[in-house]
Symmetry: C2
Subunit: 210 residues, 2 copies
DNA sequence: AGCTCCATGTAAGTCGTTACATGATTCA
DNA sequence: TGAATCATGTAACGACTTACATGGAGCT
């Protein structure tokens, strides 16, 4: 049920069209929740039917007959947003494909195990770099979304609002770094095994061929 | 596609019935991948149809007409297991409901924000404790699964196999601890805001009522 | 005239959840 | 005899993915 609330939270800084929201997802929320346009458009219709957002029909441009729809948060929508923020959510079940695979690396070679850890490291380094860049943008209110949100709240709250967001990205950075470290420790583990192995073809020998 | 491979990996230590597999999930794999019996039974049928596992019909007990089905890994199944372990998987998109919510804590009170972080901390403390206990079980080969797996591989590989599994649980513990720390820092952040606030009703004042 | 955004959808299929069901065996 | 455990399913629904589609607007 997170998509609907992500949309409500974004629209609070609106009005936005479906297309706008798609872009916000790509550039900001994506770091925390991914969604594609084929999910967003139908969900907006549902939110409208539920009375949580209200559509405003706009011209696509000056002297143009064709239109686009921008959505506003309704009072009911704001109430639902608050309800969600106050609800203690149940955590999703653990489902970690890479860790699952790491449990069974003995079905292949140390060479492959190393490649798996390498890929893991690279992935989380990239993620971390994205988070870092975005953290800078948030702290300096460089995103349109941050500026809109701050414009609607009293100056005295600006620091608090920025702190919440910065705290999230700091957490995600810390997590990525834990993943990087895990991958590096995996590689060290393999190197140590290689060093203590008598097999000259250690790296290419399947550990448990069955 | 992880469920099918989790099942193949478990059945490698088999033969197991659907019910057995359900239990293994609950007590071991659950720490990395959750699955319910209503998913497992149909998936087993698919694996059988694909020729990756083969059924063996057994009596449910001595002098009993009713039967149960235990599955064995076929050669094709083992090949698929190896293929999966060697494949560099794409990481699932980030989708973090708690972090999403934490981005929007300003829509409620500091009191609520604290409760959210508290719940987060408790959840990951429990997870971590489960991982720690399971890590002990794995390192001392106290689970049936570990004993079965070790029984099928040469003594010389036992340390490597245990190390891979221990490394996974160490990683999950580290991650849980990062989450705990994140929650605690969130609470500290709120306390600091309270200390520097002039509002006597700080904890119950909605930060951004809109 | 063609390319790139802008803007908005549908359809098929996979994966997963919750709830509903049923019957056998074992043990107190 | 009744409860717990063993054993195995189906059905409805929701979330998400990938692919397929379409048309306007603006710029070169």
């Amino acid at each position: 049920m997170s998509l609907r609330h992500a949309l409500l939270a974004l629209i609070e800084s609106g009005p936005f069209t479906g297309y706008d929201l798609m872009q916000k997802f790509e550039h900001t929320i994506e770091y925390v929740w991914r969604a594609s346009h084929s999910q967003i458009y139908p969900e907006l219709r549902k939110l409208e039917e539920a009375g949580l957002i209200s559509p405003e029909v706009l011209q696509r441009s000056e002297n143009s007959r064709s239109t686009k729809v921008a959505y506003h948060l309704t009072d009911a929508g704001r109430a639902e947003l608050t309800r969600w923020v106050e609800e203690i959510g149940t955590q999703p079940p653990v489902r970690e494909p890479q860790y699952l695979k790491a449990l069974y690396l003995e079905f292949s070679t140390p060479q492959n195990a190393k490649a798996q850890f390498e890929a893991h490291r690279v992935h989380f380094q990239q993620l971390r770099d994205g988070y870092r860049a975005h953290l800078q943008d948030v702290e300096n209110a460089r995103t349109e979304l941050m500026r809109r949100r701050l414009a609607r709240s009293p100056q005295s709250e600006h620091e608090a609002i920025k702190s919440f967001k910065a705290h999230v990205y700091h957490g995600l950075i810390a997590r990525s770094e834990a993943e990087i470290e895990w991958a590096e420790e995996g590689i060290k583990m393999l190197d140590a095994m290689a060093a203590s192995s008598s097999d000259p073809d250690y790296w290419n020998t399947v550990i448990h061929p069955g």
